[in-house]
Symmetry: C3
Subunit: 458 residues, 3 copies
């Protein structure tokens, strides 16, 4: 079937369109079935149990379960229950929201681990032999899998209800590759300090998704937008997502923080205070922006901005008041986004952002990057122990702590932000254009509606 | 605006009332915005990273994360998901229930830590210089923050649907001060043994809330009570709260239990058995009190009474059967409260207790205090190790374990109960009267209804 | 009241039936109240705090809390929130689903610990004196209590909506005895390797429940089956159960895995990969079996089959690809069951399986047993360390690791499967027949409907 083929008659076009689409849907299903099998083969060829997992390794690493597993499980709940239910606010699209979260999350754990490990090894070693070393599987790698899924699910928030399940799958397929490349550049090359992934995950995921939402928007989007609404119960379901995200966010930021120099506990304390301030400030800001009333949109989303806003600086010596200030700023930026900016972007640019990921992940992510630039710039060895400065600023890269160059550390944060925005916008644009090009083969007909994808009991 | 000013005409009064109220609402929003900023300043002046948090402290306390953090997260979920959803049973007030739980919880974490630390330092050291020592922030302090929030949220259960969001905020503001004072007297002065906070948190929160509910009741309460009902779905949402509270309660009781002499594991085992017996007994009692049928009110609430009933004795040598007996008694007391007593209190005293906190937190809390009196009275060094008796009974206060005075330890439990009841009832009455006095400036017009506080999508 | 007595007139029979049933309901309530009291007495006589729990034991076992407690809490959430909400998909039976889960779970924790400990001691020691040694209570024993509850709740899935609450209780009462006997034979006698309980818990629970569902089916089942359906919101509630089960399943499989030779972390890694593959494959299979659409039944259930399928081999050296393959097979088998087989069993055998436990627990459990046979058969000491082979294969039973007999280890898996199927089917049949015989005294009149058991607010 030739893409872009001219069809003279609307009706025929539509009919043929459906035939093509039927074929496209079927093809996609079997394509991903083969892809799943290939991933099993890839794990067979390129992965093995790590030293803390293999029954043959003499090392007994039970301790690492106690250290990481509870945090991993919290992250797991955030990704699947948190993101899943947060998106159920659409009153006719709740099945899709939770189901596609599970579908994409389960896919991304596998594909994310493969891609992250691939780029990571390539950038770390810069020789082809490095690729021969197998991926050592352990709990830390599983966390990386969930982080990949989080980035894609954030992007999904921007296009929610507007792309078909298979379009979402292709988005995930491409996004993971670019996500993992950007991550490798930031982590292995720019030596960024981004313990909570505010740049690597949140900023990237948000702007990637916005670019896809812009370029791959359905032609009937405008007349269907009134369907993108919530109901009384759907807003209650969404609060399940909000509350688990809010409570477990400290685990997200600290899962890969490491333990030396009290780092993990500092990340937890900073994140809790940022979220508490953000949570309370959101209620005040919502009343201020909404003429004395509260909006469930703000309550569901802006309360979480503190987790993103502290992300890149959560292990830094921000002090309690610094963490609280960032949380408060996160709430203000996010509430402003939901109450004012989002409508402007929609009416002026035609950019429809279903879940408002720009307000929850995009702007707070940029805020966090800028804050981390300031905290790095003003850091000095005396505020940290030798171990502390080494753990918090990878830019030191093995040098003596007394050689710590705060300007260099700060600038790396800005370069990383710029790199992330570039990869997200360019990658998202390319992905969006591809999805649009193939929209004949699979697309969502009735937006914001489960009916198209699900069997309904009568 | 003069309070109590006579207004001759109903209509004018109402109109002026709304004008005043509009001003009161606006004032409250900005008042709490300033208050939030002042809390940031206070944390800047009076708090610092603790030894297990600061990057500059040489100590590496990763272990404390493994020891406390999973328990802390369970408590976090109980406070925000548990209490939040438990209160969604009101079919038109679910948004308010979960949202205000988040608003008040986020506020109380901050304000609670400040107040608890303030009174604690004052009572522990009894000199002004003690106040110059900064609050050392760590996971244990965060748990104290969540405990403060729990006390206020229990009180909120008694007034749910009847106070406006800003009235709730002022209640929280005052309650935390009195809660922290009562806590300091019990912990630092009376040397109470109350590992699960049955007195400090549950009894205090319940009777404080009941006093507020009595004194600050809206004038139109009686004719609106028929709105305080549940629907099929709202009862399902409430079960989310119930089940998380039921499952995680052992973490609540053990979060600050300490590890020596097996204390934490004993608290967990006792609480699980108390809850299992209570959970099952509730179903039987509900059928007995309700003519063979079950009531969702009992299922949602009385099943949890075992967690409160074992609270003050959870670290004591109660034996499994002792814990089970307490759980069973908790179920009986609580079911009796929901099925019989609550209606009597309402019709005879005009005391409307929306969530029945008297049945879930009040009476089981008193039961726990009395049980702890008996278990302390019969305790002896030979039932405990030297380390055990020191950890369980702070009344020993550094004396040799062989000097343990069971009568003294027991009486301290009773004094603590009396002190808690006095502070709760007097503090709640004062707070209720203040709220009533200012009800012109902010009050709930349409009870048990989200519409007044939230924007609704059309 | 004579059972089977002939009653000439329908109406009289019905009237008398209700009188008998009223008496039966009342009797059952008080019977279980006495039973609860007897369980308290039994724990008083036969149980005591274990060495890690008693305040008098010098040993300080705080570490065991960090090692097991987070896993135990995840299992707790799976049993009460997971199973409870998974079964709320019935749109008029959601209250019953979550409530009876709590009722039965709370009962089974107690009764399960007593029965498991009883048979365990009898089989381990084979002398009567062994029974004089008290049950040592600790976190591991609590996990056993939750596992017993899980088996019964799986069976409940097969009969959901068709048995009255008291019939369910009697089923639980008998099932636990047989469950604990089968478990003791497998664990203590056949020395099975079944770390995740795929045979002990899932296969047993499923086939026991199916037998009960077959023999104790209500006479009016056929005409009421149209009521066994879901609604839009009830399917959303069910997804709460699904997602918590999906996320926490690695904790279920690893809770009693032990730490030596990296066992626990290997179980976690294997289970995560099995579930990820299963989760994604389910979406593809659902589209293939359901003509391009997804079914919420598949999404809610088949996504979890990977947790069961890997269960018996989760600690074995399956490699990542092996775990993934098992997960994928689990999805295929389970989707096939839901889409095709279940309807056939219903129309051909009259076997109605409300939640499709045969597809989620039955067939994947058998699959896991067969897979574990293969993995055991091909195991050798060189794939494991000495410690590893001893932890994974109890059949070694203290012998030197070099004496490991793979054929013996493999066959024990098959014997265990056969034993489990026999006990489940015979035990379930007996229990079903007893329930049917006494159905005059208590039975469900209006199937799949909460109204009969619950007070409704008007």
């Amino acid at each position: 079937m030739a893409i872009g083929e001219v069809t003279p008659f609307g009706q025929n076009a539509r009919k043929r369109g459906s035939a093509e689409e039927g074929a496209g849907e079927k093809f996609s299903t079997y394509f991903f079935l083969v892809f799943q099998i290939l991933m099993v083969v890839a794990f067979g060829l390129f992965a093995e149990y790590g030293v803390a997992v293999h029954p043959d390794k003499a090392v007994d690493n039970g301790a690492s379960v106690e250290e990481i597993y509870p945090l991993y499980q919290d992250v797991h709940i955030m990704v699947f229950v948190g993101f899943g239910f947060l998106m159920t606010f659409l009153y006719k699209y709740a099945w899709s929201s939770v189901s596609f979260t599970l579908m994409i999350g389960a896919f991304c754990i596998q594909w994310g681990i493969l891609c992250v490990s691939f780029w990571d090894k390539l950038f770390k070693n810069r020789d082809e032999e490095a690729l021969d070393v197998k991926i050592e599987m352990n709990l830390g790698v599983l966390v990386e899998g969930d982080f990949s899924a989080a980035a894609v699910l954030i992007s999904m928030g921007a296009v929610l209800g507007k792309l078909s399940p298979m379009q979402l799958m292709f988005m995930a397929l491409f996004e993971i590759i670019i996500y993992a490349l950007n991550r490798a550049i930031l982590v292995d090359e720019l030596l960024v300090s981004d313990v909570g992934g505010s740049m690597v995950i949140h900023t990237f995921g948000a702007y990637f998704g916005l670019a896809v939402a812009f370029w791959a928007r359905p032609t009937n989007q405008k007349e269907r937008l009134s369907e993108a609404k919530s109901s009384y119960n759907s807003d209650n379901f969404a609060m399940i997502g909000t509350l688990f995200l809010w409570c477990y966010w400290p685990s997200f930021n600290s899962a890969l923080a490491g333990n030396s120099a009290n780092t993990r506990q500092r990340v937890i304390v900073n994140t809790v205070f940022s979220l508490a301030t953000c949570g309370f400030t959101t209620f005040l800001m919502s009343r201020i922006f909404r003429k004395g009333k509260l909006s469930m949109v703000d309550v569901q989303n802006a309360t979480l901005a503190g987790g993103v806003a502290i992300g890149a600086c959560a292990n830094m010596n921000t002090n309690i008041w610094g963490a609280m200030t960032l949380g408060g700023l996160g709430a203000i930026v996010s509430c402003f986004g939901y109450a004012k900016l989002q409508g402007i972007l929609e009416s002026k640019l035609g950019l429809h952002d279903t879940c408002g990921v720009h307000n929850l992940h995009g702007m707070p992510g940029v805020l966090s990057a800028i804050a981390s630039f300031i905290f790095a710039l003003t850091a000095s060895e005396k505020d940290y122990s030798a171990a502390g400065i080494q753990q918090v600023f990878p830019s030191l890269n093995g040098d003596s702590p007394s050689d710590f160059d705060a300007t260099d550390a700060g600038l790396r944060q800005l370069y990383s932000l710029a790199c992330t925005l570039a990869f997200a916008l360019v990658g998202g644009t390319m992905t969006g254009l591809i999805i649009r090009a193939f929209s004949r083969f699979t697309k969502q007909q009735t937006l914001f509606d489960d009916e198209e994808s699900f069997e309904k009991e009568d």
